[in-house]
């Protein structure tokens, strides 16, 4: 009897083990078949070290993640989340520059609170530093739009960005960890991607400009002189004498209140907050401009006698005078690595951009280059990629061009998922950008033709598919 009982127990036990093993193997197979590829949308987002005077752009970063199960794009049944490694609530709350954002952002975006009821830092869309992502059927990706990522001092070798105000160097290439879980909380896939956010070069000229004109070489002095200069244009508006929050002090002014900016989601200037007052002595009246922020900013700098004679006669081609070049070098993708292509070869130099009236449609498909066409009016030294009419499944949300807002590979995969972020195309000259592709294509069974390696755009079928090919090659780009 005892023996029968023992035998029964043994059978039950071995069956249970077999079932568990089977389940584990099955689970393992299921888990292993999931992949997630995440990218920052633009390859770089700008930030400013201070928000007391005026706001160019808020802390705002976007990550898009595509979850793939074999050859299927996953749209349901999973939870996708992200966490910015270098940005925690404690780190940002203690950061003197970010503190300026915490104080001034409710004035710049009336109704917005940068810290939510739970004490967590949130961006202007409500996204936290660690949060879930939402599926977007148009891009076929999970998105986190408006993450308030900000360059910080990490105390590591990643701190490469020069602080124009003289503080310690900061890390402009943050990291987002992405996790995909199923409904039971089991992790199906993980990845990490670069979250680029950096200061531009504006302060490098504007602080000395202030001191050369009798104002302190500080952000406040620069804002005061900027107001004087702005009053010299046809608007006559001294922006430093605008008091949007009615506290009796000039600023903070959001440039896009008057100059519409698609990067802020605008197609027309929204106008000033209702509480806006003018400081005593102001003789102008507030109005809205029909010109985009990109238009007035680029046009002024390209044409200004002051800019050309005092700072840079070659500003038309020196994009890093303003855009993040201060040891950040935001243009860092394969175009830079393999050739002498410069920003102006795709986008045009400032004079070309003005002549072609590009800035009437800034940040938009009408004015941005594609893989096959330069921007309108560009006299480039380099040829674009051969045109293939069938490899485009783009959409137009009114922001960004046909590389960012496009899917290929039978219309399923975002261009950026395989090729990397715009301006950081694989293989990037920044090692951190290449980690994701290197991991996905790091299987020892995968082989690469001469001159290519695992850092290149995803080209091994078996990264996602099973039993297709382990050899890197150009995958089908066709829509249908």
């Amino acid at each position: 009897m005892k023996s029968i009982k023992n035998k029964t127990l043994a059978v039950i036990a071995s069956s249970a083990i077999a079932i568990l093993l089977f389940a584990a193997v099955a689970m393992s197979a299921t888990t292993a078949s999931y992949k997630v590829i995440a990218r920052n949308d633009l390859g770089m987002h700008c930030a400013c070290p201070t928000f007391e005077g005026f706001l160019l752009l808020p802390p705002f970063n976007t990550i898009r993640a595509q979850v793939l199960n074999g050859s299927s794009v996953v749209s349901t049944g999973v939870t996708v989340s992200y966490a910015i490694v270098e940005n925690t609530d404690a780190v940002l709350k203690a950061d003197p520059y970010y503190s300026s954002w915490l104080v001034n952002s409710p004035k710049l975006f009336p109704g917005f609170q940068p810290i939510n009821a739970q004490g967590k830092i949130v961006g202007i869309t409500g996204k936290m530093l660690s949060d879930t992502m939402t599926y977007d059927a148009v891009s076929k990706s999970y998105q986190a739009v408006g993450i308030p990522a900000y360059p910080v001092v990490t105390g590591t070798t990643k701190d490469i960005m020069i602080d124009p105000l003289g503080g310690p160097k900061r890390d402009p290439y943050l990291t987002a960890n992405i996790t995909v879980k199923n409904s039971t909380g089991t992790t199906l896939a993980t990845t990490s991607t670069t979250v680029p956010v950096a200061f531009g070069g504006c302060c490098t000229c504007h602080l000395p400009l202030a001191s050369q004109n009798g104002y302190p070489a500080t952000p406040a002095g620069s804002f005061a002189y900027l107001g004087v200069m702005h009053a010299q244009n046809s608007s006559k508006i001294n922006i430093a004498m605008i008091d949007p929050d009615g506290d009796g002090v000039g600023g903070p002014v959001r440039c896009s209140w008057c100059h519409w900016d698609p990067a802020m989601g605008e197609s027309a200037a929204p106008g000033w907050p209702s509480a806006t007052k003018l400081l005593p002595g102001a003789t102008f009246t507030l109005k809205k401009s029909v010109y985009s922020f990109s238009d007035v900013l680029h046009r002024y700098h390209a044409k200004s006698q002051k800019v050309l004679t005092q700072f840079d006669a070659n500003i038309a081609t020196n994009c890093y005078d303003c855009h993040p070049g201060n040891n950040v070098n935001c243009f860092r993708g394969s175009h830079k690595g393999k050739t002498a292509i410069w920003c102006t070869d795709c986008h045009g130099n400032l004079n070309e951009r003005i002549a072609a009236n590009q800035m009437a449609h800034p940040w938009q498909q009408q004015s941005l280059p594609t893989c096959f066409e330069k921007s309108p009016g560009v006299n480039s030294a380099f040829a674009c990629h051969p045109h293939d009419t069938s490899n485009s499944k783009s959409w137009d949300p009114g922001l960004f061009g046909k590389f960012i807002d496009n899917r290929g590979h039978k219309g399923s995969v975002l261009c950026e998922s395989c090729h990397g972020s715009a301006h950081a195309e694989a293989p990037s000259t920044l090692a951190a950008d290449n980690v994701q592709n290197s991991t996905l294509q790091g299987n020892a069974a995968f082989t690469f033709p001469a001159g290519k390696d695992k850092t290149y755009a995803i080209g091994v079928c078996n990264v996602c598919h099973t039993s297709k090919s382990n050899v890197w090659a150009r995958p089908p780009h066709l829509t249908n």
């Binding site: 050369q212 070659n314 004079n351």
Partner: protein
Amino acid sequence: MRKISRFTSTLLLLLLAIVASFASDAFAMEKADAKNFDFAKTREFFQDMESRPDFPVSTVLAYDYVYSLRALGETIEPARKKSIIKYLQEAQQKDGGFIGGKANNDASALFTDIALDTLAYLDNPGALDTEAAKKFILSLKNSDGGFGFCSASRESTMATTYFAVKILGSLNALSSVDKAKTASFIKGFERKETGGFGYMKGNGVAAAKITYMAVYALNELGMLDETTRKNSLRFLEATPCGTKSSNDDTPDLNELSYALQAAKVLTSKNAMDDKKVLTFLGKIYIPVNGGFGPLEGYGSTPDSTSTALRILVEIGKLKTPAMSPLVKQ
């Protein structure tokens, strides 16, 4: 025993610190030597531009290319010379002035100055219509003694007046200028308290670039007096890399270049500290391509590399490239 051990380790640490300090100084000395710059790479950095079908791209880049290669002791190949002259000829507008790039049709004193300098370094003075350039500059003359920037921006500034005086001087046409009036206009930018000149009349700090422009123009006009000279030198000595500057001052590449050029106009060999200058250049040198960045930590650009070479010329580490006269003297 423990005390001795602690004493010994402290002594060792001190010795290490002293050795490290010497090593650091030696490293700084080594850095502060033009021999550490790989000029062959610098040459290649500029010659990379030649492969561009739109070479020389813009007026400023044409100047950067020509000046830099000449400063490095190169002669410009006839084919390149031809391309540059053709570009400059196309950049000259009907009014006689030059533009900065093909898409910008506003000729200005700034780009006219850069174009004529490029031509002088190319040793091909007859290639451009200098008479038309002279007329263009004279058309910018204002009643206050200063000159404007372009036909659409006629306000006199210190910088635009410098361009006009420099160009007219190189074209033997200063007789068309009321020298006393122009000198009086320029002196309105002087900073009596600190010495040097500022960008705006009355307000703001002095800057090396505008000081150079002012003393150059005054010298060219024969109006550089001893008081102005001494005051300007006083200012230059206090700029970063000046002999009376603090070691903590961070130089700005452009400002440094103009401070050195101003010191040369003022015939001073003691205003600037060449060792500090070389140490700074060592910090902005980019060994991977032989270029120089505009600031420490920045990447190299043709403009900043050309400026760095200019600095090396000014401190005698590279030969001054010859400029041929634009008109018969």
